[in-house]
């Protein structure tokens, strides 16, 4: 084979991998779009597709119908958008942790961040009597504070992944204890309220939640794209990565900050629906079968799981509206179990 032929072979292999990547991404996008459309259509009052379209375009065209517009634009659209955005944020947080720690069991709740957010939110609900935006801010503050404490405690001339995880587990246990304590001291209706938040719900989604999360993601995404680039080197091990010119410690720190931020903002908006963070990465990588790192695809999977779960939660049982967190748990667990059952290639589960 001449060198030109050889280079051509390499190019063909790259194209093949890229094609698979694009195919998976396209399929996920299409599925997401479809699910989004269904989310706008389905409900106590099914809005026909034509009306959905008209409603969406009404700010531009001026053709309004107060009733339908309210349902579509003020109720379903924010909710579906919030589901998509939070799904993306959770998924990215999860896959970043899993890739950095090279462990499929990693996820923001292992690190204790979401426990910090939860404990703070429960505190706000039970002790401070807050609700809505106040709780969200409290959750955010809790997540950030916990992250800082974990980082400070992990620092000993540098931060290693295992120290962060182990200390995160310790922090998670303390946060869980705080929550348990508050649960036993509060009045039952306060506990109910707190539990409702903890399970994760899109019920109270409003435009402000959506906009807040959207801004956060808009800021974090460019940083993510730049940092993920360095993962091409960092996946090969710290030494090899440094040898290839990656600034290992800086990138790792940056990625962890980004992952924490995603988890913090998403948790603040919808509660700790962390199972999405856990499953999105493995599902994406399974679909890609080695043709890519899976970040874009994981984000799409996360959005899909969140949105799909919310649809199921709202409409599956007649007359009962479950919170989304319940369904993601069952759904995500089911998918993970399916993955385990069908995997028969060596190392596929890893």
């Amino acid at each position: 084979m001449t060198m030109l032929d050889a280079a051509g072979t390499i190019r063909h292999i790259r194209y093949r991998l890229a094609t698979r990547r694009r195919a998976v991404t396209l399929a996920l996008c299409a599925l997401l779009a479809l699910t989004f459309a269904v989310a706008l259509y389905l409900g106590d009052y099914d809005v026909p597709p034509g009306e959905v379209l008209r409603s969406l375009l009404s700010p531009l065209t001026g053709l309004t119908d107060k009733g339908i517009d309210f349902i579509v634009l003020n109720v379903r659209l924010p909710r579906a958008t919030l589901a998509v955005l939070s799904g993306i944020a959770f998924a990215l947080s999860g896959i970043i942790f899993q890739t950095l720690l090279r462990n499929p069991l990693a996820s923001p709740d292992i690190i204790g961040i979401s426990h910090g957010a939860s404990a703070s939110a429960v505190f706000c609900i039970i002790v401070l009597g807050l609700s809505g935006a106040g709780v969200s801010l409290g959750a955010l503050a809790g997540a950030v504070l916990t992250a800082l404490v974990i980082y400070a405690l992990s620092w000993r001339g540098g931060v290693t992944a295992y120290r962060v995880v182990l200390i995160g587990i310790g922090m998670a246990a303390m946060m869980a204890a705080i929550m348990s304590y508050l649960f036993t001291r509060a009045r039952i209706f306060e506990v109910q309220k707190a539990l409702g938040w903890l399970i994760g719900s899109l019920n109270a989604s409003s435009s402000s939640d959506v906009i807040g999360l959207a801004i956060a993601i808009a800021i974090l995404l460019p940083a993510t794209v730049l940092l993920v680039r360095a993962l091409d080197a960092m996946q090969l091990g710290d030494d090899t990565a440094a040898a290839l010119g990656a600034r290992v410690e800086a990138v790792r720190l940056g990625l962890m900050l980004v992952a924490v931020a995603y988890a913090a903002f998403a948790t603040a908006a919808v509660g700790p629906v962390t199972f999405v963070a856990f499953v999105a990465g493995p599902i994406a990588r399974n679909l890609l079968a080695g043709s890519g790192k899976g970040f874009v695809q994981a984000a799409l999977v996360g959005a899909l799981v969140m949105l799909g779960s919310d649809l199921l939660a709202q409409h599956a049982l007649p007359a009962v509206q479950l919170p989304v967190g319940v369904v993601t748990g069952v759904f995500g667990a089911g998918f993970l179990l399916w993955l385990l059952i069908v995997s028969n290639r060596a190392g596929q589960v890893n």
Binding site: I10, R14, G237, G290, S291, G347
Partner: protein, 271 residues
Amino acid sequence: MTIDHQLLAAGIDLGYGERKVVDDLSFTIPPGKLTVIVGANACGKSTVLRGLARLLAPTRGAVYLDGKPIHQMATRDVATILGVLPQSPIAPDAIVVADLVGRGRYPHQGWFRRWTQEDDAAVAEALRATNTLDLADRPVDELSGGQRQRVWIAMALAQQTEVLLLDEPTTFLDINHQVEVLDLLTDLVRHSGRTVVVVLHDLNLACRYADHIVAMKEGKLVAEGRPADVMTESVVANVFGMTSRVVIDPISDTPMIVPIGRHHTGATLIA
């Protein structure tokens, strides 16, 4: 043509935490030659390589690349000059050979990655040189230990650096592949004028291929120079704690160390 780079260590101490592994080491890597570092296990040879490769910062002294302290240079700049293959690299799951070797192009690609003809050619050349071109489409985790090792070497080669540092690249290889890899490294030195530093644990292959051999013991430099000058029975005894006879390799005309053990003492041979 290739530029000759000057890589040297000046009075370096290297260690991990409290433990000092390398003690006051100074030597120069001769440019355009194949240097082999040898020594017993845990003598610090891998540590020295990591120090030279900028993977470990010296606690005393400094490593200089072209006259500049290497730790003050930007990682990416160093990566375009030094190519390193450390021990135990990690392959991401399900990654395909061509993809893995392609990661070696990382230092040459900017933020907005665009794969060029050059990149493809570099990858192809690296695969061809390590005889792994027919494996290009296979997932790395399906390969044998030896094949995987050659793919990793290809990745280091794809970096197309003028200096190449390899830490025990022949560990899992059959003897024919070991020779193949060392022949390849020799080609790089002789035909492309590159500087190659290898840590080997096989003393005889080291003597055969090295232009310059560096022998270490317990973190200190014991001897360096041409194998024919350096590898004497007393050096072997000092470094490895083993009595031996040094003869001339009939094929390569380099020193060949013949070990003397408890069951093979040469006593029955006529001296």
